[in-house]
Symmetry: D2
Subunit: 266 residues, 4 copies
């Protein structure tokens, strides 16, 4: 079995956990570390996009997982050494027995749909959680026209619009009033941030649909999974469809609701 | 072609529209009227369940359509002669040309999933919009345990719980904070009414799942599509799955979002 | 000092706490028990309305306090021996030192505004938390016209309307989407339950205003503090103003927000 | 009587209306124009802060009114020549008879409380609608600690926090889920924008309280009435109290609810 190791390097705690993971795995499997982590701990590493392994072990929070999934199509096993750990599977104190189970192939793969995002027909990176189109002028709302399969679904002034996967429905989209989407629902949710329209409601659309958003001014920002930013203007067309590549998570059970309830910030 | 005619009989306006429909269709197609309407206008009629036709024309509001769909598996064409007309397709003033198009087979069928509801494994009638489980003691909340595929998803005190189809997501469920579900989404939404829990959110689950609800007291009421009521106690199990039979609506276009925006009570 | 003792009598746990309170206070102050409690523990008691004391000690949950405040104008000290204890001040395990402080007059009075409710100009009992006007036909919404100082403020179809005090804003009204009203705000909040109108929002009105609600059918129920019920019809006028008599709570500090955060059902 | 005239100058339509207002008033009263407008129409003008008149006539939308009220303590009469006209009183087509009534002193003054905002004890300008404290890093939430009279009321991660007057409760705060505050309610409402905490609710606090907010990072922005911006860091303290100076609007009636319903964006 081959493992890739990705870690936050700005937190000593995370780097220490990463070292323990490497120590534990090294004599039982092949281990490749990401370049940045390698530099930190004095090991040779590879850029994320070049790592070809069976499982990526991430050490950090959701940001580390999202960055990993934006750059490679490999199942991810998340060890939580960060603040927000919705997507992570395990805490450092339980990681050794968990890695043991993985080595024995005693795990399941939880597949989740991702969003493919295009700017004027050019593909940007996929999103595991959500894409956000937001005014870049704080407290100055913009008008957003939302089309579903080329039919106008909503025309709304707001701070921004979130398009989220079921996985993302309990993250940023939740803050904007999204319902919880069971991870098996084959749909996306579109939720406005601070809509200046009393009748605004989140809309759940089939994953097979093409969502398209147009704005009325030249100063919006597109943010993908909180990791990637791009300026958007009124002549741009941003569109969203389901990605051909799903996100894959290494899990020990399929209990979506237990995960949700424990992870949610009440 | 054979048409069935169902109408509200408590409103003169509806009965008058029904007469016009019958007059128009009688020499162009076969027409069967429902028993109650027959009695009102001096024609022989049949009970709803015995009517076998190609299209049911309903005259009234959503209640008339919901009652028709609870009793027969025939495409419905709704003429609005009632207050709430979310499910109806046309206003009386436009009905003659519309019926003309139907006679020429110039229409489409809009299929919608329905809920199958079981009480202690015994099948009750299907729901086109929603099933509601509600305290029967006004202003006295009850505890509801919600299971999805036998996993506890929510444990909540509330006035009631709504389980709605995409069609029902813009009706009663909307009042309880449901998102709008595009009619093509293969899912149900579970929305609590007046939940005494700040973290409560609507949950969207795949149509393939089995939803089960248990209550903690002996005084709840199950209401199906606003048409059928049943008392429920703490030893009862109420469960919801997708029905094998869809609801079918006769339409002239597929523009879900136009329909929604025009129908919604702002 | 004179103490009145009111307790739930249907819960052995509450009655046992009541006995301990009586034992502790009896040789330090004058103690009067409510009739129902007296019968339970073999002591002579008085009906609530006849008890004239300095402080009422209630043992139970919020229901016990609300019933006490509906029947007498005396400061209340609530010992929590019930499920929901938003209004109670202390748990049984901490009650002896607390009663000791009260005997030494080491406490403060937290005054809260109450709602005066009139049906066709006839005064009903006051509400510490809220009044609810609700369809008595489950899942069958009614139309409510809400007037503030004789000006139409809202015309809405819903399951019901809650008019709440700041104290009640974190109880049933919260379930219907009410904001939290700081207990010092001199206002009431009007919140619809399951409104069938996307633009519906809770409204906060000055305590000096007169709220009046009219319904369109003959089958509504008025419920005051969850304790008192009355049938209401379409020719009835229900009105709400601030009561001349405030509710008074015996407290040891004024930290409203700490109380709220600890009491809220997340 | 003396009138001041303030107008948008970037819209020809507004400038044309301003000219008509000046023409109509000039032979009946004393008229002073704002400097920017004067330059546009070839008249001598004064800076806003130097204009001393009985009534300020503003031509434009809410922005024009808010800017005027930030700079002078004079009753404002708003003529709507902009997109959002919540605060304006009249449309251009009805303005001549309206100005006639004002000349005859046939009007009322609608007083509204304003927010006084201090940054590290230094007074910034007052707000008629709202102050917003917002992450300046789009889609990157920040932690906000909210204190009411030095007691911790809420600790929350969100995109931003809005502190609004009753006047502002139907503007930006409404987009963030604020209730409607009757303009006579002597209170402010604190509403989080996209809170990452399911239990977050708007809080209504007495106008007499001191609201204080602290943030955890160095990259927030304070925006006052959408007109004034200031960078805020983690060592800054931003506080809000009621202003000694109210906003005053020239009106012809006191029907708050009619105004609200007509102005709201459904």
């Amino acid at each position: 079995m081959r493992f890739g190791i990705v870690s936050r390097v700005d937190k000593k705690e995370a780097v220490d956990v990463a070292k323990k993971v490497i120590d534990f795995l090294s004599d039982k499997a092949e281990v490749v570390v990401e370049k940045k982590l390698g530099e930190k701990i004095g090991k040779k590493g590879l850029p994320l996009k070049k790592i070809k392994v069976d499982i990526m072990v991430t050490i950090g929070g959701d940001g580390t997982i999202l960055r990993t999934l934006q750059n490679c199509d490999i199942p991810v096993f998340g060890i939580n050494a960060g603040a927000v750990g919705f997507l992570t599977e395990i805490k450092p104190k339980n990681m050794i027995p968990a890695l043991g189970r993985i080595l024995k192939k005693d795990y399941i793969i939880d597949k989740r749909i991702k969003l493919e995002v295009k700017l004027n027909k050019k593909e940007l990176c996929d999103c595991t959680n959500e894409a956000v189109l937001h005014t870049s002028h704080i407290a100055k709302m913009r008008r957003f026209e939302i089309y579903i399969d080329d039919k106008m679904a909503e025309d709304i002034r707001a701070d921004g619009i979130i398009v989220a996967t079921p996985t993302g429905s309990t993250c940023y989209a939740m803050s904007a009033g999204s319902p919880i989407l069971d991870s098996r629902v084959n749909a996306f949710v579109i939720a406005p941030i601070a809509p200046f329209k009393l009748s605004a409601r989140p809309i759940v659309v089939p994953a097979s649909s093409r969502i398209r958003i147009r704005i009325d001014k030249d100063d919006c920002l597109l943010v993908l999974d909180g990791q990637y930013e791009k300026k958007i203007g009124k002549n741009d067309t941003v569109s969203f469809t389901v990605s051909k590549i799903p996100a894959r998570f290494v899990r020990f059970d399929h209990d979506f609701y237990k995960r949700i309830r424990e992870g949610l910030i009440l």
